[in-house]
């Protein structure tokens, strides 16, 4: 309800390995509105990619979603059968992966891979699907799309491949796109172009976008709202300006502080001491305790997400 495109409520995805239970996603909640860009930020291993896969039902064994609700325009995806979920994937929710080299099948032509994405969801013939693919490529700024369609993935550069992936994601006009670090493997200049185009596409079509990244600078220019994840939980979320200008969680502050920037040229880079704990050995209480300068006895309890000054924060001692 409330016109949200996506509502995630208390999502828990655990991996049951021989080494123990990995609580990759441990109670994550957020919403995304139509046309909005949500940045899901955190360092490697914090569970952001698994969150993305959980939404699409692509979590492979030994992992599975153990609790929560995922409401895509009021339909709980976790209650759908596999066949129903397949109708949602690629049509109402689409995903762009991180490594463009490996997402496209190297032995199939681009048109094959695009046409099949269309025909899996729309009852059109090959020519029509081909046309749609051509238009999609044009929209992401690929010149001479007909020629490109008949090529193989390895004949493209990394940036182009990622544009193709985005084009594929947009083919069936999804309500939501989940982009998992799509520009991490690309040059900075290409990255800027793709960010710009993604933003434009979403504004124009009203598609909600979840942009998963570890790079704050990417999110700063792109997102409307931001959720910071740590050790499987959201520790802070709010409008991007509010969170980045006045962070409330010590972790967020540490993240912002560790981004190299011109203003602090010459001074040593600030680091967050320590490392994120292994997800099989999460300490009781606040997961960030071991690295937080403000930790106190109260932090032995797991803090809840509370509203504080326009953000939501999971901390007993917000800044």
């Amino acid at each position: 309800m409330n016109g949200n495109t996506l509502v995630v409520e208390d999502l828990k995805t655990h991996f049951f390995t021989r080494a123990g239970v990995v609580r990759a996603v441990d109670g994550v909640s957020f919403e995304v509105k139509p046309g909005e860009v949500l940045g899901l930020v955190g360092e490697s291993g914090c569970g952001k990619t698994v969150t993305g896969f959980s939404i699409l039902g692509l979590v492979d064994p030994p992992g599975r979603v153990v609790a929560g609700r995922i409401l895509l325009e009021d339909v709980d995806l976790l209650q759908l059968s596999e066949a129903e979920l397949r109708r949602v994937r690629g049509a109402r929710v689409a995903m762009v992966f991180q490594d463009p080299m490996m997402t496209l099948n190297p032995v199939l032509r681009i048109d094959t891979q695009m046409v099949e994405a269309v025909r899996a969801h729309q009852a059109v013939d090959n020519e029509k699907a081909f046309q749609l693919a051509k238009e999609a490529l044009q929209r992401v700024g690929i010149a001479s799309p007909e020629e490109r369609l008949r090529s193989y993935p390895h004949q493209f550069s990394g940036g182009m491949r990622q544009r193709v992936a985005i084009a594929i994601a947009m083919l069936n006009r999804p309500r939501l796109i989940i982009a998992d670090e799509p520009t991490t493997a690309l040059d900075v200049t290409i990255q800027a172009q793709i960010l710009y185009e993604a933003q434009k596409l979403c504004r124009e079509s009203g598609t909600a976008l979840i942009w998963i990244t570890h790079d704050l600078s990417v999110v700063a220019g792109l997102a409307d709202r931001i959720c910071v994840m740590y050790a499987g939980r959201i520790v802070e979320s709010g409008p991007v300006d509010a969170v980045l200008d006045a962070p409330l969680h010590p972790y967020t502050q540490g993240l912002i502080g560790s981004v190299p920037s011109r203003n602090r040229r010459g001074s040593p880079l600030a680091q967050i001491p320590g490392m994120m704990p292994a997800l099989t050995e999460l300490p009781p209480g606040c997961a960030f305790r071991g690295r937080c300068a403000r930790a106190a006895d109260a932090c032995a309890q797991q803090p809840d997400l509370r509203e504080y000054k326009r953000h939501l924060v999971r901390c007993f001692h917000p800044l």
Partner: protein
Amino acid sequence: MVFVIRRILQSALVVLVMSLVVFVGVNVVGDPVHILISDDMTKEEVDRFVRQLGLDRPLHEQYLHFLANAARGDLGNSFVHGEPALKLILERMPATLELAFAAFLLAVIVGIPLGMYAGLKPEAPASRAIMAGSILGFSLPTFWVGLMMIMVFAVILGWLPSTGRGEFMTWDGLRHLALPAINLALFKMALVTRLARAGTREAALQDYVKFARAKGLSPSRVVLVHVLKNILVPVVTVLGLELGGLIAFSVVTETVFAWPGMGKLLIDSIQRLDRPVVVAYLVITVLMFVVINLVVDLLYAALDPRVRLREMKA
């Protein structure tokens, strides 16, 4: 196009090298006189033969002579049958090819689906059974299994004939083909299964498979188009070479089932010291191998677009 020509030239070179090896093997390593001459000739006959064959000439002359003759199709006459050795071999070749191809088809048709299943669901009990079966498959001595098959299906059950070959493409022919083809196929079936499983397991873990699922494609399309095409490339390469192995290994199956192919002729000839036939067999087989390797290379390039690009750049 350049690629194709290059490969053909390379193959021709290999044929030449192998002819040299066969020649050296026969004329230098083995006693040339003994190897090319029937054992029960008198001394005068031997001397005359030697001069006739030019065995007293220098080696390189002999080699050229050999090549010239081979190009004409003259590889000597069989001691036992008195006919041109090459003719004997070629007469028997269709039978061997029929057997080898049948076994090849069986191995592929059974092996690839089984292997793919085991690769997609590695923990399922059926998969474990398949893998156990594959180890059994390539541990089984082919000749012994052949004997057991005759025992069970021909002697005890009486369902199928035990020896000989029927007419090509008739019901009777197929009945005679069944046991030998299955026997020959077993080993390769096991190998193909393992290969397909390894390839499928690797492919299934790749990002492009996950991406295909994220696009909402049906599982059958994901498997049959995305996964299969990727494993075809390594599997085809190996299979092509295995076809050659099947032709060679048919020697065993032909012996057990009295299948009238080249292999049986070879064994008989080795035992009866009919060396011209042995040489003829080797020449034909080597030629076949080189052609098969060439075809596999070209097929590989056709199936994997990345290879074509690499070759064009090279």
